[in-house]
Amino acid sequence: MKDDNAQKNGFGSILKKYEKEKALVLESISELIVFQDIKQNILWLNKTAADSVEKTQEELIGEKCYSVWHNSNKICVNCPVVASLKIGEPTSGEISTPEGRTFFIRGFPVRDNDGKIIGTVEVARNITKLKQTEKNLIESEERYRNLFESSPYSIGIFDLDGTLIDCNKATGKLLSTHNLENHIIGKHFREFWAYHEKDKPNISLFEGILNKLKKDRETLEFEFPINRSTGGVLWAHAIASLIKLGSEERIRFIVQDITERKHAEQVLETSEIKYREAYNRIDFYKDIFSHDINNIFQNIHSSVELFDLNTEQSINMEKNDELLDIIREQIKRGTNLVSNVRRLSEIENKDLTLQKCEIIKVLKKVIDALIKVSKKREINVQIQNEPKEVYIKANELLPDIFENLLINAVRHNQNSLVEILIKFSRVVKDGVNFIKLEFIDNGIGIFPEMKEKIFQRGQVEKKDKVGLGLGLTLVKKIIENYNGQIWVEDKVAGDYTRGSNFIIKFPEEV
């Protein structure tokens, strides 16, 4: 008996020791551990569990689990501990308490030696902070996504190889597509950039941007043309930055459509160029006009002076008629100059409407007028291969072409007989029928260096290297308006002194 007691006392102390060790282990665990019977009565709990409701362990023994943590008289819906009792297997799940704490709970059924379930061990972890962080993250992601999607600017995220991995709806709008996944995502940056083949850079554009971003670690702003998926090109202003998304480095592009601004700039630039050109032209014409008219007045003035001198002194009277002719000629030149300046201004300031015109009649009328006003000169005008009728698209300025060419042929001719041959022919170029007119004269000819320049007065020619008259500038401008061409050759190739051949080509109207 004594031995039995002694034996009992021995087991008892061992048992106590184990109990103490078990309690020590369970108490040192930071998770909540609650042992309860099948009616959810708490049989044992660790200090962490009691601390979670600010009570002592002793106070909670015998209490209902749902009453302690949920302040309720009913079993919690979806309680994993209850579920583990029902199905007889460990179960887990999340439960939120009325005051807003969230626990991750695992329930382990406890069986007796016969396998009958006699209770459960509940192991719970307070995951409130984790859940809050997760919630914050989701909200932050939502906020970011919301900002991303509601941005009026296109935002695109590229990986460092230049592939688009994400973009917002504005990007679809910018590129005229709703199907971002199939039309945009996954494309390389180079597929968006609408550069001309001739401007193709040696280094990949994206590589260039990436290198600069990495070097400067600052945002990079630039403008570039983009291919629209529906065709056409738009202009964009981009702000590129290196960003970190998670552990990955990406490039974010914020892109704004500046096509309208770009077009407005181009229009402004063009109109500024046009305005400057017009200003320069006016300035040039003003200069030429004042110079030429000054010369004309000088010639008239000198002729009048000589006339008076001859008359006063009754000398060289036979030359007075010649002086009067000079005065008349100078007046004609002045009138012609004024008319040409006016015509040039008309051509450059408005769009001239063209209509079908017959040119033979116009030409003959001009020839008749020339002979009438040049009575003092002997003029012989011949027309070779004269067609019955020839039509071109022209307007009221057509006579000015013939008038200027014929007047020049007479004026710049020192022969006693002015000979002008007008040759007609037809040529076909690129399937277009042209009527070709050649005005061949026996005048003083045109220097080789001057053959192109004589048509360019009023353009870029230096003021001090030009001669008198704006006639050929006007002629060229009218002909170009008619989609024609004019150039000059020597009458005898290589010897300009024998005279000139002004050649004109007009598209023929059938």
């Binding site: 002086l323 000079i326 260096e449 001090d464 290297k465 001669g467």
Partner: protein
Amino acid sequence: MMISTFGFTVVGKANNGKEAIEKYNALTNKPDVILMDHRMPVQNGIDTSIILLKLKKPPKIIFISADKSVKTRALALKGLTFIEKPFSVTALHDEIIKVLGKS
């Protein structure tokens, strides 16, 4: 006509500066004076005068122009005189006489 009225003989006329130099060099009987315009095709009066004034025996040049800026440039060349347009024929006559008197 203006020149011949005063009894001077015109030995040559040129339509531009380049032709003027060619003609001047080709003449056996060189002119006593050249009346030089400025605005001419191919080569202007200033450039032509520069070349002529560099000759071993430079000609006398009366430069005639209405351009005020040209007057300064022309007179800076030294060795020529200048008449501003518009001028009277008697002024030209007097200038020719003056220039010839200097020789």
